[in-house]
Symmetry: C2
Subunit: 140 residues, 2 copies
């Protein structure tokens, strides 16, 4: 399951008046439809966890700051980590049915953009408290 | 033509670990399909202008900073201005066939997110130099 999470490097173009960063295109291989885009800020040394989507395919992009994402497979009890943002600019393509959480690593702002395959719907989201999945977030 | 540009206020949810900002949903009235999302930073007191899309419907969102957008109708020679971002968080829905440019107003970072109805394609974009359309950008 966690093996189906893909990290797709994205391009940044450095321009004098302000950089241009790629995001996601309809023709990308790992594009699974568009439902909604929203922005989730994550403060330094804070964690938003855990969420699980029964239907939504996520595309996670960090245009500002640096974020640790942790994914958890409740069948195998495995975890998988990705740090993206700043000098590792990429899109994480995340299938449904995976628990995940994320932590802000940059002391300035950390911005997570989710390009989601369906619109937000409380009925397809499960939540757990931070402590309910055993992972050392190494909080200061 | 400029009258078809819509400013749609968007919600911000203030959360302890980091805020959540709405973007755009497939079911929004002014959603005209998804082609690509990209991020355009604009430095303080810099202007990116002018561009014109023959096919692309733009959705412009400023999750960080404050940006002045200027739209120009080459038939009526009218201009229309919007300042969005920070305390005026909104989505600008911009039909094709309008010249536009934008200026960074915040001294920290200014981020423009474009949720575009089609993928980038050089063949549908026209460009003009800043001076080719008469507008006082009030640059410092």
């Amino acid at each position: 399951m966690l093996g189906n999470i893909a990290k797709i490097p994205l391009k940044k173009f450095h321009l004098k008046k302000g950089d241009l960063f790629h995001g996601i295109k309809k023709s990308d291989k790992s594009f699974y439809g568009f439902g909604e885009i929203y922005f989730s800020w994550i403060n330094y040394n804070s964690v938003k966890a855990w969420k699980y989507h029964k239907e939504m395919h996520l595309n996670l992009i960090v245009p500002l700051g640096k974020v640790l994402f942790v994914f958890y497979d409740q069948k195998t009890l495995e975890t998988k980590e990705f740090i993206v943002g700043d000098d590792n600019y990429a899109r994480l393509s995340v299938p449904k049915n995976i628990w995940f959480g994320f932590k802000g690593l940059s002391k300035t702002d950390n911005l997570v953009v989710n390009v989601a395959s369906i619109e937000h719907n409380d009925n397809e989201v499960l939540s757990k408290n931070l402590e309910e999945i055993n992972y050392d977030w190494k909080l200061d």
